[in-house]
Chain length 214, copies 2
């Protein structure tokens, strides 16, 4: 048992090292100039070993903790939505599950480095947009199932899903300018504005973010 | 004056004929197989004449009435947002200006034919997505200006813009399943749900759409 735990730990380390090397090389040379061979070299493993962990350099770039990779999957999201208390409103449900995803993305430096790489490449931008679209579809399906609405004829589930994905996108974009606030906190604030019907109430003076050193 | 009016009318006719021919040929042969020469041939003008009206076959495909082409521009949208009553809330302002855009798109058949062409081509999908992103940015800037908020540090303008663009996207997608409802009406309904904070209230029985023949 002990040696199996060690093996798992070792595997997680190699996975993380490959993901880190992908990001580092992409920042240095540009993502399109990075090969799987170069990433494997950097970690001193073979390209074949790389392929045991990731199916492509794109996957290695977007890899986070194995748990959060799972959370960004349609299966996790779908199950997470289904498992919430039946009395919760759809907006509250999506706020809760996206809040869990936001916790996994909460390493500010890694996230912004990744976004710098994505900004270089239209291909990566499309991939990220496609991933958000998939999450949106799964959320709409989850909401439709919970509220007994028909996804084809009733626009409500799609509207809630689009607004929720939008809140996540805005949180990810504005997080950088909020040194005093965690990503889940900012996302929670945006969901509160959605739930209130987006009233135009200027935010209160925020002593926390102003007194915190940058 | 009379001959100048005739000239303008004639130009509008050629423009519309080129746009119609682009859509027709794209539906028939696939958008990527359609050349500017073939479109011009179809209308019996030269490729050079085509280029007096449109800079590319993509532009010809997305062309609608000259007025609505203008409305989809950043300049129109920006001015329209600035001109609304200062007492209106940001959501109400975006509902009003997107409602005007929706009126221009209200030809159901033409819209769905265009969407069928867009569905064939990842390139056109990206172009449409880029256009929606541009509208989103202009809306966020307009809201920031109206509410005296800072676009960089305050996520509210972006959140309202993202939710509004989302409502437009959902309206465009669900409109097909709503034979009794116009696009501006459906969009208005979705904005009402946004303003109410997206409560999970099943829609009332709708005698209009059910009694109308399909």
């Amino acid at each position: 048992m002990r040696s199996s735990g060690r093996r798992e730990r070792k595997k997680a380390e190699v996975r993380q090292a490959l993901a880190d090397a992908t990001l580092r090389l992409a920042l240095e040379h540009g993502f399109e100039n990075v090969t799987v061979e170069a990433i494997a070299d950097e970690v001193d493993v073979s390209a074949r070993t790389f392929s045991n962990y990731f199916s492509s350099k794109e996957e290695a770039l977007f890899a986070t903790h194995p748990r959060s990779a799972g959370r960004l999957s349609s299966e996790w999201l779908s199950a997470a939505i289904a498992e919430r208390d039946p009395d919760e409103s759809p907006v509250a449900v999506l706020a809760a599950v996206l809040g869990q995803i936001a916790q996994d993305l909460a390493d500010r430096t890694a996230w912004w480095s990744k976004m710098a790489v994505v900004a270089q490449s239209p291909h990566l931008q499309m991939r990220l947009a496609a991933q958000l679209s998939r999450l949106e579809v799964v959320m709409a399906q989850g909401v439709a199932r919970r509220s007994g609405r028909d996804l084809g004829s009733d626009p409500y589930p799609a509207l809630v899903a689009v607004a929720a994905t939008g809140a996540l996108r805005v949180a990810l974009t504005h997080w950088r300018s909020r040194p005093g606030q965690s990503l889940p906190e900012l996302l929670g604030e945006l969901f509160a504005e959605l739930t209130a019907g987006l009233p135009d109430v200027p935010p209160p003076h925020d002593p926390v973010s102003e007194s915190r050193p940058r």
